[in-house]
């Protein structure tokens, strides 16, 4: 008979608990992987469990998460579930392809919940093959205006899951750094943030503030100006070529990848190809008629644009009609 000291006993138990929880998680995750293939969302308890699993993973990630090529960069997807399937067909499915999504998973499209769930399930299955950055829509305030809140209310009948997801958004990294030379961030630069080290000191676990460095990183846009200008969005800044060059020089960067702005052609290089906007939501808001892109980095200097278009109507399932509460 093996005799264990109390400390050893607790150690063995907690180890066994961990192994069992991983095993049971694995079972759940595999089950969810099957479910989300058909544009489904998870039952309430399952999504809560998934959120807990992802929270544990995100806790361990840095504000500026280091990533190594080869990796494929994606811009806004905005709840366009069917188009995200097209994205994966274009770029390859994880774990074979490694991805960085630069935020704005939710709002605008009809399937924010299904889209977010799919990305979270992939993340749970292959934590190191997907990096999910925060965008300006991963926020309580914005999701209440632009649809995700209403979608959760409609699909779950309460706001609990929306709250869970918002807690998760708070934990998402602000940026990613590919091979130490390519910075990926949702919006752009901030006059308050001169170095990547400064980004690393941000207390990111919070709702995106209305102003200041963190807000700017989520909201700013590049523009054909010299330095800085007030943004018509009411948050963040317009930044020109000079601050971009300065920031890149100070941080020894070769490229800044960002999303946040619709580009009709799917991708747009600016500032002598030192900054790129990647847009991954084709036919944005069901009206813009734009194409979408992803950017595949073979190495940090060798990258390839892949374009894709919106999925045709006949390949989408028609949901059953429900009654909006106002009309009961």
């Amino acid at each position: 008979m093996i005799l264990l000291s109390q400390v050893e006993y607790i150690g063995v138990c907690s180890r066994l608990l961990y192994v069992f929880s991983r095993m049971s998680n694995d079972g759940d995750v595999d089950k969810w992987l099957e479910l989300i293939k058909d544009c489904k969302y998870l039952p309430e308890t399952d999504l809560k469990k998934l959120c807990t699993i992802i929270s544990d993973i995100l806790f361990e990630e840095s504000n500026v998460q280091p990533v190594f090529s080869p990796v494929t960069i994606c811009g806004d997807v905005h709840g366009q579930y069917y188009d995200v399937q097209e994205l994966f067909k274009t770029g390859g499915y994880p774990p074979d392809t490694q991805y960085i999504f630069m935020g704005d998973f939710v709002d605008r499209g009809y399937y924010s919940l299904e889209t977010l769930t799919q990305l979270l399930v992939f993340k749970a299955k292959w934590p190191h093959r997907l990096t999910l950055l925060r965008g300006n829509h991963e926020s309580r305030q914005v999701t209440q205006v632009y649809g995700f809140y209403d979608e959760c209310m409609k699909k779950y009948g309460n706001a609990n899951l929306w709250r869970f997801c918002c807690r998760l958004f708070d934990l998402m990294p602000i940026g990613a750094l590919i091979d130490n030379t390519v910075l990926c961030i949702h919006g752009g630069l901030s006059p308050d943030i001169g170095t990547i080290d400064q980004m690393r000191t941000i207390e990111r676990d919070q709702e995106i503030p209305h102003r200041g460095g963190f807000c700017d990183l989520m909201w700013s846009d590049p523009d054909d100006i010299d330095w800085w200008a007030i943004s018509p969005r009411g948050a963040g800044w317009l930044f020109g070529e000079k601050p971009t060059n300065q920031f890149m020089h100070n941080n020894q960067l070769t490229l800044i990848c960002r999303a946040h702005q619709l580009v009709q052609e799917g991708i747009k290089f600016m500032f002598n190809e030192r900054l790129v906007t990647v847009w991954s939501a084709p036919n944005y808001c069901y009206r813009c008629g734009n194409i979408a892109s992803i950017l595949a980095f073979h190495t940090s200097t060798n990258y390839e644009t892949k374009l894709f278009s919106a999925v045709p109507d006949e390949k989408r399932q028609i949901p059953s009609k429900t009654t909006t509460p106002y009309f009961l």
Binding site: N136, V145, L262, T323
Partner: protein, 365 residues
């Protein structure tokens, strides 16, 4: 059917002392002011106004013969003139949302607003232009953000309410206000949206009715109530909305037709709320739902309400709790709206905290 709704407007009891028109301004600076807004005279009066117009057009087509006063005809001509401004401000080519040429159009509107209103209204109302003009200026979108939404549509509703309150429009105009004037206004707004690619302001997309408008659905569902030719489920059927004869005659169908012109992808995805509403059995139920939803999604939303302008006509004062005479809104009568304003007490030193609310104007991608 709105037969049980009661109006809570105060009948003018005091001596009819005409108030000095003032330049209206925003009052709802922060979320806590929403309570005061919901209890204000403006809120009560605007709600009654929307209801009485809803009632007035019950079962009528846009082409139904209705009485049109000379002022109303002139207001339609005013919209025609604004439409011609578009020809003078051709699109410049957009980058993101919004074409900068819209700013030229809006500048023309700002420059011409006073003159146009002078040409439109009989001289006795000219002193009110300083108070009424800003509502018209707000009715067609925001020139800084290059967007348009239900808040701008509401500004036009308040503009109409002002005209009724000073009696420039009379009760007899009720039907034509919606079927002719508002219909023409919506046509212009659609042209502006398409020409200048205006961004939907604060739109929930498919989780609300429509990116831009609300009232065409609300009043439009009243047009269908108690007329059995077209059922709710047929309104989203292209055999009906694509029929120009029907689309020209019904605000609701024209709105569905417009959505299908500007949006691609499946209707059940990009307009899921309208898709679900098509499942409601009766138009009276749709109409009731629209009224509830107008409160829930437009009037009671801070991001929209923060832009509302208040003056003496659209008053931020507290509405009287117990109206001296409760009146049933069971007919198109709402004569208390068509009265020149009586003396109103201006609230004493309302403290307005200027806190940062800019985030509610944020434009997102």
């Amino acid at each position: 059917m709105m037969t049980t709704t009661t109006a809570t407007l105060e009948q003018p009891t005091s001596t009819k002392l005409q108030q000095q028109p003032v330049k209206p301004e925003t009052k709802i600076k922060d979320v806590p002011y929403m309570k005061q807004w919901k209890e204000s005279k403006a809120y009560k009066e605007y709600t009654s106004f929307v209801l009485s117009l809803n009632q007035a057009i019950h079962g009528l087509k846009n082409s139904s013969p209705v009485s049109i006063s000379p002022t109303l005809t002139k207001l339609i001509e005013l919209i025609d003139k604004l439409d011609h401004f578009i020809d003078e401000c051709p699109p410049k080519g957009r980058s993101r949302f919004g074409d900068a040429a819209y700013r030229d159009w809006h500048t023309k509107l700002e420059q011409e607003c006073e003159n146009l209103l002078k040409q439109t209204l009989p001289e006795e109302y000219h002193s009110y232009i300083i108070e009424i003009g800003p509502y018209l200026l707000d009715s067609f979108g925001n020139s800084t953000r290059l967007d348009y939404g239900t808040g701008h549509e509401m500004a036009f509703g308040l503009f109409l309410l002002c005209l009724c309150k000073i009696e420039a429009l009379k009760e007899d105009d009720s039907k034509a206000i919606v079927l002719k004037l508002f219909n023409r206004y919506i046509e212009l707004c659609r042209k502006l949206q398409r020409t200048y690619y205006l961004e939907p302001a604060g739109s929930k997309g498919q989780w609300c009715l429509d990116d831009y408008q609300f009232l065409p659905f609300l009043w439009g569902s009243s047009q269908f109530t108690d007329q059995s030719n077209i059922e709710p489920k047929q309104a989203v059927d292209e055999r009906y909305y694509k029929n120009d004869h029907d689309a020209n005659d019904y605000l609701y169908l024209a709105a569905i037709k417009y959505i299908n012109e500007v949006k691609t992808g499946p209707f059940f995805e990009h307009s899921s709320t309208l898709y679900d509403i098509s499942n409601v059995a009766q138009w009276s139920k749709v109409n009731q739902g629209m009224l509830k939803m107008y409160h829930g999604e437009v009037l009671d939303k801070f991001p929209i309400a923060q832009h509302i302008l208040f003056g003496n006509l659209i008053s931020f004062d507290l509405a009287p709790k117990r109206p001296p005479q409760r009146q049933q809104l069971d007919s198109s009568r709402s004569d208390n709206l068509f009265k020149k304003p009586t003396d109103i007490n201006i609230p004493t030193a309302t403290v307005q905290r200027h806190i940062d609310s800019e985030n509610n104007n944020q434009h997102t991608d």
